[in-house]
């Protein structure tokens, strides 16, 4: 059976999160049809590592992030977090587990309660979970606010709309940190921010990651940002993973034709460099009825008959660099595989 493969999963005692064969489908009304948002992907994240997930709008990045949190729980697949299988946890146990995995979102302002003051917003998780005395909670909150560069005094007096977008994102980050999570899933955390502020937030995440020994999953569409912050990157296309590699290697040696497209679409801040004609055209296919074989085949310049019938699986083309493609740009043709049905 062709999934996207698991050759890239690591047998390492430091694995904090291991996702296997994750499938998320959304039924469409009573039509009997469904959106295949995520179709059998696997990946792992080591303690202290930053995994970047990139890919086109609608490819299933947010769905993947939310499925880890069981929001909602996936159609099928396994999610092992720190030795615990999350998909079979009871409601209460899952609520508890969610304190160890936090999520921050793209829209910093609307993800914060507009009616409460910022210090209370950051404190709320502590009071829900009754962590420490009120004085201890306040001390913890103020310390975290200092860490993210927000004046605690001002936080106590102000509501979210009185802060800028970048500051609101810092506040979301503070809130996600108070329960001392092991992992933070960042879903487009800087996409709504100015480049200048984006740089500040990326630097902040890097610093906090070291200080709090965090593991990050960083979802974004801006490859230049993802490249900067990630150790390892998974490229997604239409619910599948097409390439996994260390971030520097991915940029030096993209192997999947789709990765190449993504890379060449990045605007170069230099008007003397001619804008590259967009290399893919056509419509991204429907996740309701994805194409047979390789899901990228209708738009791929290298597509062959094999691509239209046989789904490629992830294989290692050089150390720690995996690609799911029959005819990659580097690493040679995929060996003809024997099918087991």
């Amino acid at each position: 059976m062709a999934g996207t493969g698991k050759a890239h999963l690591r047998d390492d005692q430091n694995v904090l999160l291991r996702v296997e064969d994750l499938v998320v489908e959304f039924p469409i009304g009573r039509t009997g049809l469904k959106v295949n948002a995520v179709s059998g992907i696997s990946f792992d994240v080591l303690k202290g590592e930053t995994l970047g997930i990139v890919g086109e709008s609608g490819c299933g990045k947010s769905t993947t992030g939310r499925a880890i949190m069981q929001l909602p729980s996936p159609t099928s697949g396994s999610i092992m977090f720190d030795g615990t299988e999350l998909t079979t946890l009871s409601g209460e146990a899952m609520r508890e587990a969610r304190t160890k995995i936090q999520m921050i979102f793209q829209d910093p302002i609307s993800s914060l309660n507009p009616r409460r003051n910022v210090r209370d917003i950051v404190l709320e998780p502590l009071s829900i979970w009754k962590r420490g005395t009120t004085a201890e909670q306040l001390a913890a909150v103020d310390k975290i606010l200092e860490h993210v560069g927000i004046d605690p005094q001002r936080a106590a007096e102000s509501k979210p709309h009185q802060f800028s977008g970048g500051q609101c994102q810092r506040i979301s980050i503070a809130r996600s940190l108070v329960l001392n999570p092991q992992m933070i899933i960042c879903d487009e955390p800087v996409s709504a921010l100015d480049v200048s502020v984006q740089a500040q937030v990326v630097n902040l995440l890097e610093d906090l990651k070291k200080q709090f020994e965090l593991t990050l999953v960083f979802i974004a569409h801006d490859l230049a940002v993802v490249k900067n912050i990630s150790d390892r990157i998974a490229v997604m296309y239409l619910g599948k993973i097409c390439e996994v590699s260390s971030s520097d290697d991915l940029y030096r040696n993209p192997a999947h034709p789709y990765t190449d497209v993504l890379l060449s679409s990045i605007p170069v801040p230099d008007p003397t460099v001619a804008v590259k004609k967009v290399v893919v055209d056509g419509e991204p296919p429907s996740p309701v009825s994805p194409p047979a074989g390789c899901r990228f085949n209708p738009r791929c310049p290298n597509a062959s008959d094999r691509c239209r019938s046989e789904e490629p699986t992830l294989r290692e083309i050089e150390p720690d660099h995996f690609v799911a493609c029959h005819h990659p740009l580097t690493g040679g043709e995929a060996p003809v595989s024997v099918h087991f049905k």
Binding site: V54, G55, E56, S57, G58, Q106, S164, G165, G166, S191, A192, L193, D194, V195, S196, V197, Q198, A199, Q200, V202, N203, E206, H221, D222, L223, A224, V225, K227, N228, I229, S230, D231, S247, D248, Y251, V261, L262, L263, S265, I266, P267, V268, P269, D270, P271, T272, V273, A274, V275, K276, K277, V278, V280, D281, E283, P284, P285, S286, V288
Partner: protein, 357 residues
């Protein structure tokens, strides 16, 4: 070069603003959101308006479009469309301009789309109203427009509500709505900020195609100088409600004058840097528009600041390069700039990668 200059100067401005001021009355005092901006956009030309959040980009676009709140606004200066003053037009008079003459792609697709109306209806309504199409005709055109902005399965999308679409798709619906009546002047307010790079590239390509084929003018608002580099003829950099540097795009990059423009450029993460490189940031925050700093508005954050900058506001200067203006006492390349740069580099406050050109 001179030949093109000549041809260009002969082209009339489609849109022109002269010393436009848009101030808001707030509980804290008057916020000078746009504070004396003069720009011209010629037929078929594109102007990029770049600056940090709160610099006045959206308010400037809305001031030109006549889309400001009714109350609490103080407006000054002149806005001309095809040579005619439109700054004082009523909403009713603007009706004949909105949609067919000027259209706007708004920054936030979720709040500007009607959440309880199907996508198809939202697009076809304006076609029916402005171009007098029948319901069926309008729906057919709407489907084509969705196809043009590369929304997969356009026919199915017509019957969906905005919340059923991904963020990227909602933005493309906004673009389809703006393009519906074939405007001469399009304001695109951060049209690609929420989009992934492939779609961003496609949409910018799409907008420049429209610009070329229909000789449409385009005002492209963004906070990322990198995005507009390949798609604009001219760029205006805004800071604290003022245009602080304006030049033809190539000139702006090749011959940057404002330290602010330079700082904006160097905060863009670059693919050619190894991963985990420390990103260059601009310290501090944009100015309070109610109480802007007395001298240069960028002074509190500028690495090249001197006493003069704190006390006097720099006037608009003409650079050596044609059509290039800026507001700075010690521009990039000036002796004072170079002297300070040497000091900063010695103190290790400037990273080597922070390009000076």
């Amino acid at each position: 070069m001179t030949q093109t200059d000549l041809v260009r100067s002969e082209l009339e401005s489609l849109v022109e603003t002269i010393d436009v001021k848009t101030h808001f009355k707030t509980p804290r005092g008057i916020a000078r959101a746009v504070d004396g901006v003069s720009i011209q956009i010629r037929r078929g030309q594109s102007l990029g308006v770049v600056g940090e959040s709160g610099s006045g980009k959206t308010v400037l676009s809305r001031s030109i479009m006549g889309l400001l709140p009714r109350n609490g606004v103080i407006r000054e200066g002149s806005v001309r469309y095809r040579g005619q003053e439109i700054g004082n037009c009523s909403d009713k008079e603007m009706q004949s301009i909105w949609g067919r003459e000027m259209a706007m792609i708004f920054q936030d697709p979720m709040t500007s789309l009607n959440p309880v109306m199907k996508v198809g209806k939202q697009i076809s309504e304006s076609l029916r109203k402005n171009l007098g199409m029948s319901a069926n005709e309008a729906l057919a055109v709407a489907e084509k427009l969705l196809h043009d902005v590369r929304i997969p399965e356009p026919a199915r999308r017509l019957n969906q509500y905005p919340h059923e679409l991904s963020g990227g798709m909602r933005q493309r619906v906004m673009i389809a709505i703006a393009m519906a009546c074939g405007p001469n002047m399009l304001f695109a307010d951060e049209p690609t900020t929420a989009l992934d790079v492939t779609v961003q590239a496609q949409i910018l390509e799409l907008l420049s195609e429209q610009k070329r084929d229909r000789n449409m003018s385009l005002l492209l608002v963004t906070h990322n100088l990198g995005v507009v580099a390949g798609y604009t003829d001219e760029i205006a950099v805004m800071y604290g409600g003022k245009v602080v540097e304006k030049a033809p795009t190539k000139t702006l990059f090749a011959n940057t004058k404002m330290p602010y423009t330079e700082a904006l450029l160097s905060s863009i993460p670059r693919l050619d840097q190894p991963s985990h490189s420390r990103l260059t940031t601009i310290p501090g925050r944009p100015p309070d528009l109610v109480n802007p700093p007395k001298g240069c508005r960028f002074a509190p954050r500028c690495a090249y600041v001197r006493d003069l900058c704190l006390n006097e506001e720099p006037e608009l200067e003409q650079a050596d390069s044609p059509d290039h203006t800026y507001r700075c006492f010690y521009p990039v390349g000036s002796p004072e700039y170079l002297e300070r740069r040497v000091e900063l580099t010695r103190k290790g406050e400037l990273v080597a990668s922070e390009g000076s050109n």
